[in-house]
């Protein structure tokens, strides 16, 4: 606001630079200075001081008592037996925490009370200094720096300077290369799952294969490829626990059954279902949460993480939420024994999008 800049330039010195902040009007009220110290009751009344002293000491004593009680609680209460005791807290946890907490609080409150009631509360004044060093110091530092640079001869010997810069630029490369073995390269592993032609679709807990007639209209079954439950010739599982976790991240599916007339398959997917039974990837195309909140009336599948909603009667199309792509569908058939099988792997990568996905 220009009307505040009323003070003229420095009189008699045309060269003086006016700091715009120095030209504001004078302070409207003079600083009255630090108010006089008001004594507290404990400053003037020895009885009050004595009382405060006893308070503080009692708190410290209380802390000692609670510390002992903590040790008692530690040995008295069993753990692990009944975690539901005392509102799910467990007796041990509750008493250990309370005694420890109260013992600490008593020390803390005692110390603060001591400071507030008995330590001197006369305010003292300390002057500030500019954060910057003095101009002399600065000049000295700059001179020293210059001296050092001159002594090193870095300015006169550009060959040394340039090769040094080159070496410094290159030396992190080995450090970065060292990290190469943090993990394998992705390759196309993300685009493939363990599903293959003829692999049975089995219940995810029991591993039992599924017959179409066992699936009710409106039902959703969490399913997995049968290979997770199979063993090789030596009776060893084909996939270890770890490998199963990794493969499950891509291969987990859901099997749902709807009225066949409700389903509107896309071109080429007309025979991907069996009597209204369809199989979809369970992995959300947004960021990969497993999806299984199923609304049987609307055929909608909702992801519990970010609420992307897919219409399973309409090829898994996204109808709501942050997901961008339909949830991939696994083509189903029935094998000679009457169990549901996959006719091929997914025809697109499952799970969250990634750059090379295409």
């Amino acid at each position: 606001m220009s009307d505040q800049r009323t003070t003229p330039a420095v009189p008699g010195n045309d060269d003086a630079v006016i700091d715009p902040h120095s030209s504001v009007p004078a302070e409207p009220i003079d600083n009255p200075g630090l108010p006089a110290h008001q004594p507290r009751p404990t400053d003037i009344d020895p009885k009050a001081a004595k009382r405060a002293e006893r308070q503080v000491a009692s708190l410290f004593l209380l802390s000692i008592v609670f510390a002992f009680l903590f040790v008692v609680a530690y040995f008295v209460f069993e753990i692990g037996e009944d975690p539901d005791l005392f509102g799910g807290l467990g007796a041990s946890n509750l008493f250990l925490g309370l005694t420890m907490g109260l013992s600490m609080l008593a020390i803390g409150i005692g110390a603060v009370q001591w400071a507030r009631k008995l330590m001197s509360d006369v305010e003292i004044v300390e002057q500030r200094h500019p954060a910057a060093s003095s101009p002399d110091d600065r000049a000295e530092v700059l001179a020293a720096l210059q001296q050092g640079l001159d002594d090193s001869g870095i300015a006169r010997r550009p060959l040394i300077r340039n090769t040094l810069l080159g070496a410094l630029a290159v030396f992190p490369i080995p450090m970065v290369v060292l990290l190469r073995d943090l993990g394998p390269l992705p390759g196309d592993t993300l685009a493939r799952t363990v599903w293959a032609e003829g692999m049975r679709v089995v219940n995810d807990i029991s591993g039992t294969p599924i017959r179409p007639e066992q699936v009710q209209i409106g039902q959703l079954i969490n399913a997995e490829p049968a290979v997770f439950f199979e063993t090789d010739a030596d009776g060893e599982p084909i996939y270890t626990d770890h490998e199963i976790l990794i493969e499950k991240t891509k291969a987990a599916v859901i099997v749902v059954r709807m009225e066949p007339q409700d389903i509107t398959p896309a071109a080429g997917r007309e025979n991907w279902g069996v009597e209204g039974i369809l199989c979809y990837s369970k992995i959300c195309t947004h960021v990969g949460c497993p999806i299984s909140l199923w609304e049987r009336q609307t055929h909608h599948l909702l992801c519990p993480c970010h609420q992307s909603t897919f219409d399973l009667a309409d090829n898994g199309r996204v109808i709501f939420g942050p997901a961008a792509r339909a949830v991939p569908q696994l083509p189903l058939a029935v094998d000679s024994e009457g169990y549901l099988i996959a006719t091929q792997d997914f025809d697109e990568p499952v799970g969250p999008s990634y750059w090379e996905r295409g």
Binding site: I29, L94, L102, E126
Partner: protein, 582 residues
């Protein structure tokens, strides 16, 4: 450091003079240490260093002490926790999970909870202290922002504080992931999806992070070393820098009688703050212990081991990740395929770009404000939020945005609790995050400016006594009396805002200045940011108003126009009573 003792008054605040007569019992050990470490010189000034007192200066202290609680409880947990994803069969005390296959990390977390005495308490204290740490940092940062404590020379400390907040959140997320339960595994799965959405490098980053395909078998041990060594090390180093700068700059203070930009008024480190801050550590520790005793947190035994094919409805991250979660939830499902490559806008923008941009703007704010004002002076006096209306309104808008995103991160919970339609909550949020912050900005700014007007009013015309006076001609008015001089001074102890004005867009030859457009933008911004503020009255205005008021009071005095006038504070009212005239 170039601190000196200050004014003579600073040498002591004790009631009895220090004496050099009898050598104290401290002298022996002090000499021993000094002869080896030479600490006399460096501690001389620090022991009696003055800190100003205000409740809001305690917020950062909560963060500091809860970090210490985290270190202590964390060391305890590390004595039992096994950061391994090796599959084991659980054989511990918790019935419902016995016999299940799970990672060693999850099994050892269950052991800490059920088979180590005090283990559950330490786990719960650790988790509560983490909430407290991050929450206190947030609130401390808001305090610093609202009072302008980030201004020169403290801009770098503001940035250090911002880095601490970011590291604290990362540290929290890493710790949250360690137990390898179903909920934390789901969090990692989302993080994997986020990483994979990075253009070009996404899958490589994910494979290098997880040692192959998600979930792999190394992520827990990698997060563990980040959680117990790397990030805490960085946090400790930054806390040290934060505190050293605090000591060097000396703490900011509220303006007031005797408190200026050139001094700091308060109590000395030794003994007052040694007792208060030291005691406060025990209070924070005790408080977390009581939280850990009475409020269950992260009962991982209820979630079960991680299984990438399972999730529970109502999955929620810890609260400090809530705003990012909300962004992910309300963002529309945009994705494009460009030259055969997939760009996941729906993950990249809300999950990577917006949080980092918001963070960068906050870190840069001191420099942005400095550029608008052109103010390069040191500021050690705090501003009341109302005296920086645009800044306060900006924070209020940002808090609104944060709160909306945070609520959006629990849109499923809101839908269930309030029986609302989930989709409509999401649609509402998509609009609200743009509209409400702007509304809040405007309202807060007007609110601050009217508070400034009120301050001016009080300064010029005094406070409202509540005494209604009737003039001889029958007019009613309320009697105003001047406020006490110390309060009046405090109200005026603030700087006048100056709107940056363009000197001239062109030089004398009519050639446009090199960065004229930038300067014009700066001037417009400055006018918008400061132009509406109410400036404190000048000395002349004050004198004039007070003369006027005195004159008015005189006119009314001793006319006994209404009973009760004698309670106007200007008379001795001993023995007087309010009576009704009949």
């Amino acid at each position: 450091m170039s601190t000196t003792g200050g004014t003579p008054a600073a040498s002591t605040n004790g009631t009895t003079p220090a004496s050099t007569g009898k050598p104290s019992r401290l002298a022996g050990p002090a000499n021993w240490a000094d002869e080896r470490l030479g600490i006399g010189k460096s501690t001389k000034k620090q022991l009696r260093k003055v800190f100003p007192d205000h409740w809001s200066f305690m917020l950062g202290e909560i963060a500091l002490w809860s970090f210490v609680v985290l270190l202590i409880t964390g060391v305890f947990l590390s004595l039992w926790f096994k950061p391994s994803m090796a599959e084991v069969t659980y054989l511990g005390s918790y019935d419902q999970l016995r016999g299940l296959h799970m990672s060693e990390a999850y099994a050892s977390t269950l052991d800490i909870s059920f088979d180590v005495r005090g283990g559950l308490l330490m786990r719960q204290m650790h988790h509560w202290a983490a909430h407290l740490f991050i929450g206190a940092m947030f609130i401390h940062m808001m305090r610093v922002f609202l009072t302008g404590a980030f201004r020169k020379p403290r801009e770098l400390n503001w940035i250090i504080g911002g880095m601490l907040l970011l590291l604290g959140i990362l540290e929290g997320f890493a710790g949250y992931s360690l137990p390898d339960d179903l909920l934390s595994g789901t969090g990692l799965r989302i993080a994997d999806g986020l990483v994979k959405a990075t253009p070009v490098l996404g899958t490589y980053m994910s494979f290098f992070l997880f040692g192959g395909e998600f979930p792999g078998d190394v992520i827990i041990s990698r997060l563990y070393i980040a959680h117990v060594l790397l990030i805490p090390g960085l946090i400790l180093a930054l806390i040290a820098a934060h505190m050293m700068l605090l000591v060097y700059h000396k703490h900011t203070q509220w303006p007031g009688a005797g408190r200026t930009n050139e001094n700091v008024v308060g109590f000395p480190m030794m003994p007052v703050y040694a007792a208060k801050a030291g005691g406060f550590f025990f209070i924070v520790f005790g408080f977390t212990a009581i939280l850990g005793a009475t409020l269950q947190i992260n009962g991982v035994w209820g979630y079960g081991p991680y299984n990438p094919a399972e999730v529970t409805a109502g999955s929620q991250p810890d609260w400090y990740m809530g705003f990012a979660e909300g962004l992910m939830r309300i963002f529309p499902g945009w994705e494009s395929v460009i030259f055969g490559y997939t760009v996941s806008w729906n993950v990249m923008i809300p999950g990577q770009i917006i949080p980092l941009t918001m963070f960068a703007i906050f870190l840069a704010y001191p420099f942005i404000e400095q550029w608008i004002t052109g103010d390069k002076r040191e500021h050690h006096l705090l501003q009341r939020p109302r005296n920086a209306p645009s800044r306060t309104a900006f924070l209020a808008a940002m808090v609104t945005l944060y709160g909306l995103l945070w609520a959006a991160g629990g849109n499923d919970i809101l839908a269930v609790v309030f029986q609302l339609n989930l989709n409509w909550i999401t649609y509402f949020m998509r609009v609200a995050v743009f509209v409400l912050p702007i509304l809040v900005f405007i309202l807060t700014r007007r609110w601050c400016i009217s508070l400034q007007r009120h301050d001016s009013e009080v300064l010029l015309h005094g406070y409202e006594t509540g005494i209604i006076m009737r003039a001889p001609e029958g007019a009613y008015s309320e009697r105003h009396l001047p406020i006490d001089p110390e309060r009046a001074y405090t109200l005026t102890a603030r700087e006048r805002d100056e709107v940056y004005e363009l000197e001239s867009g062109t030089n004398e030859h009519g050639v446009a200045a090199p960065n004229a457009r930038m300067q014009r933008f700066r001037a417009r911004l400055s006018a918008y940011w400061y132009g509406y503020n109410v400036q404190k009255p000048t000395r002349e205005e004050l004198l004039e108003a007070h003369e006027h008021a005195a004159h008015e009071l005189e006119a009314h005095d001793d006319q006994h126009s209404a009973d009760g006038h004698q309670f106007d504070g200007r008379h001795d009212v001993e023995g007087e009573e309010l009576t009704h005239r009949h």
